[in-house]
C-alpha cells in the first residue's frame, strides 16, 4: 500500500528481469493509451470533475446577473474582484477569520494527539503482556463508533466536566476521536523498529520516556506524517463536532461552521455563495497540490488500516 506512485527503480528492475516480455507489454500499454475508449473515458472524467471547480472559480469573479444568465461564460472584461474582496472583508461569518481558528484547532489536535498517542503506542508495542494487548483492542473498538451517533451524549459528558461550549471541550473530544486510528498506526510502525535500539538506550541510562521521545519517535517519521495528514484533513473538514459542541454564542467559527451559518443567510445571493466557497476550498486544494503524494498515500493507509 505504501507504493502508490510511480517508482522508477521498480519498473527498471522488472524490465531487467524479463526484457523481451516487458518490451511487449509497454507496446500493449502504448496501444492502450491510444484506444478511443480510454480517450472518451478520460475526457468525461476530466470534464465532470473539473467543471464544478471551473464554475466555482469563474463565478467568484462575476456579478449576480452574469452568474445567473451566463454561469459558464468567462469574459475577462466583465470580471470583478469586488465580491471576493467583500467576502474577505465581510464582518459576518468571515471565512478568512475561520482559517485562523480552524488552523489553531488542527495544530492543537495534531500536537496533543501525538503527545497522547505516541507514548501509549510505544508502551503497547513493546509490551508482551496479554493485558496490554487488550488495551489495544479497547482502542480499536473506537473505530467502529460513528461520530454522528454519539455526539449528543458527548455534550452531556462535557457539561458534567464543565467544558460544555468551550474550545477546550471541542479539542478534548477531537483528540479522543483521533486516538484509535493514530495509536493503531503507531503500534504497527513501532513493532518494525528493532528492540535492540531500545535496549542500547536503556544501557546508556535513558528512561522509557526519554528513549521514546529522543530515539524511537524520530524514527517514526513516515507513521507520524500519515497520522498528521489524516488528522489535519479530518479536523479541517469536520463539521458535526464544531457545529454541535460550540454553539454560535461561543463566537468561534471554523471554516465549515462559518460557511454553514453564512449560507443559510444568503443562499440566493450567488455573489456571496461562490466567493465564500472559493475561500473555503482554496487552502485545501493548494495543500493538496503541494502534498498530493503524501496526502493520497496517508489517507489511503489511514482508511484501509485504521
Amino acid at each position: 500500500m505504501a507504493v502508490l506512485e510511480a517508482d522508477p527503480r521498480e519498473k527498471k528492475a522488472r524490465s531487467v528481469r524479463t526484457p523481451a516480455a516487458a518490451g511487449g507489454l509497454s507496446q500493449a500499454e502504448r496501444r492502450e493509451a491510444r484506444s478511443p475508449v480510454r480517450w472518451v473515458l478520460l475526457t468525461v472524467l476530466f470534464v465532470v470533475m473539473a467543471v464544478p471547480l471551473y464554475l466555482l472559480v469563474v463565478n467568484s469573479f462575476k456579478s449576480q446577473d452574469d452568474i445567473l444568465n451566463n454561469p459558464f461564460s468567462l469574459v475577462p472584461g466583465r470580471m470583478t474582484f469586488a465580491h471576493l474582496s467583500a467576502a474577505i472583508h465581510s464582518p459576518q461569518y468571515n471565512v478568512i477569520g475561520g482559517y485562523g481558528f480552524t488552523l489553531f484547532l488542527v495544530v492543537a489536535v495534531d500536537v496533543l494527539c501525538i503527545v497522547f498517542a505516541g507514548p501509549a503506542a510505544y508502551a503497547i508495542a513493546r509490551s508482551m503482556k496479554r493485558r496490554t494487548q487488550l488495551v489495544m483492542l479497547y482502542f480499536l473498538a473506537g473505530t467502529f463508533i460513528p461520530g454522528a451517533a454519539v455526539i449528543i451524549p458527548v455534550i452531556y459528558v462535557l457539561r458534567d466536566l464543565g467544558l460544555a461550549n468551550t474550545v477546550t471541550g471541542l479539542i478534548a473530544h477531537d483528540v479522543a476521536s483521533t486516538l484509535p486510528v493514530s495509536i493503531f498506526l503507531f503500534v504497527g510502525f513501532i513493532r518494525t523498529i528493532p528492540v535492540d535500539i531500545d535496549q542500547a538506550a536503556t544501557i546508556d541510562g535513558a528512561g522509557r520516556y526519554r528513549t521514546f521521545w529522543t530515539i524511537i519517535f524520530p524514527l517514526m517519521r513516515p507513521a507520524v506524517v500519515t497520522v498528521l495528514i489524516l488528522n489535519s484533513i479530518g479536523i479541517w473538514n469536520d463539521f458535526i463536532s464544531p457545529q454541535i459542541l460550540l454553539s454560535p454564542s461561543s463566537g468561534h467559527y471554523t471554516v465549515t461552521t462559518a460557511i454553514y451559518a453564512g449560507i443559510s443567510q444568503y443562499s440566493t445571493d450567488m455573489t456571496k455563495v461562490f466567493p465564500n466557497l472559493l475561500l473555503a476550498v482554496a487552502p485545501v486544494v493548494i495543500f493538496f497540490l503541494y502534498m498530493q503524494r503524501h496526502i493520497i498515500s496517508g489517507l489511503t493507509v489511514g482508511a484501509v488500516k485504521g
Binding site: V3, L56, A120, Y122, G142, P146, V157, F239
Partner: protein
C-alpha cells in the same frame, strides 16, 4: 511504567468516547425529553424503532444511498483504475483529478453542487436559455435522492481508484504475459485475471464505502437539507434533527445506538475480511 505511558490516552479516550456510548445506551432505555427527569422504560424505544413513517423512510433512503452509492463508487473505481494503472505522469494527473474531492469537506461540496443543480443553479439557468426546464434535480421528490447519490459518488469514487491502482500495480507482470501468450485479449485479461487478483481489495473497498455511506450526514445538510418532503433524509440526519428539534431524546438515542450497531457489524465484517486476506497473503 507501561501503565503510566498508556494512562493519559486511556483516560481521555474512555471519558470522551466510551462513556458517551454508555450514556447513549442508558438514555436509549429511557423516555428522557431533554429537560426533566427520565423514566426507565426498558426496550420500548427499540420496539418502536420502525413504527413511525419518518424512520422507515430514512432507513430506505440510507440503505439506497449505501447500496447504489457503493456499487457505483466501486464500479467506477475499477473502470478508472484499470485505465489509469500505468505508472506515467499523465495517469498520475488523472488519478489526482478523480481523487481531489476526497480532501474537501463534504459540507462545502454539497453547497457547491447546490449552486450548480439548484433551481437558480448553473445548469437550470443554462437550460432555461433554450426554453428547457427547470429540471428538479434538488426539488423534485423522485429526483433529489438520485442527485444526492450522484454527488456522493462524484466525491467518493476517486478514493477507490487510488486504492485499486495500488493493488493493480502489485499484480505480477508475468501473469499478464502468461495470459497474453495464451491468447487472451485485454478485456478477458482484465475480467479473468486482473480483477480476481485484486478481489480482496475490492471487498475491503466495498465495506469501507458501505460503512462510510451509511453515516452520510454533512453532504445531506448542505445539498438538500433532507428535503424535499424528507425524501433525502438519512438516518444520521434524522437522529441529529430529532435530538435538537423534538423532546424525544431517548427515542433519538435509541436510533443512534441502532446505527452504531449496524456500523459495528459492517466494520467487523471489514476486519474479518481483512484478516482472511492477510492469511491468504501470508499462507
Amino acid at each position: 511504567m507501561t501503565l503510566a505511558m498508556m494512562g493519559p490516552a486511556v483516560v481521555l479516550y474512555t471519558v470522551l468516547t466510551v462513556v458517551p456510548v454508555g450514556v447513549a445506551i442508558y438514555l436509549s432505555l429511557t423516555n428522557w425529553n431533554g429537560f426533566s427527569s427520565a423514566d426507565f422504560i426498558g426496550l420500548d424505544n427499540y420496539r418502536h424503532l420502525f413504527d413511525d413513517p419518518n424512520s422507515t423512510k430514512s432507513w430506505y433512503v440510507t440503505a439506497l444511498i449505501a447500496a447504489v452509492g457503493t456499487v457505483c463508487e466501486v464500479g467506477l473505481g475499477l473502470v478508472y483504475a484499470l485505465i489509469l494503472k500505468g505508472r506515467s505522469r499523465g495517469n498520475s494527473f488523472f488519478r489526482a483529478v478523480a481523487y481531489f474531492p476526497h480532501v474537501i469537506s463534504a459540507l462545502i461540496l454539497g453547497y457547491l453542487w447546490a449552486a450548480i443543480l439548484g433551481t437558480n443553479g448553473a445548469i437550470n439557468n443554462t437550460l432555461g436559455k433554450f426554453g428547457v426546464g427547470p429540471v428538479g434535480f434538488l426539488f423534485d421528490e423522485n429526483m433529489a435522492l438520485y442527485s444526492l447519490i450522484a454527488v456522493i459518488v462524484w466525491a467518493g469514487f476517486g478514493f477507490n481508484v487510488v486504492l485499486f491502482v495500488a493493488a493493480l500495480q502489485t499484480v505480477p507482470a508475468e501473469l499478464l504475459e502468461a495470459a497474453a501468450i495464451d491468447g487472451a485479449n485485454r478485456r478477458q485479461t482484465n475480467l479473468r485475471v486482473v480483477v480476481p487478483m485484486i478481489a480482496p481489495v475490492v471487498t475491503i473497498a466495498t465495506v469501507l464505502n458501505l460503512v462510510g455511506l451509511i453515516r452520510a450526514y454533512d453532504i445531506v445538510v448542505s445539498l438538500t437539507g433532507g428535503g424535499p418532503a424528507g425524501s433525502t433524509q438519512t438516518f444520521s440526519y434524522l437522529i441529529l434533527a430529532r435530538s435538537f428539534e423534538s423532546t424525544k431524546v431517548g427515542y433519538a438515542t435509541a436510533q443512534a445506538v441502532f446505527l452504531m450497531v449496524v456500523s459495528a457489524v459492517l466494520a467487523l465484517a471489514v476486519t474479518a475480511l481483512r484478516n482472511r486476506q492477510d492469511q491468504a497473503a501470508t499462507g
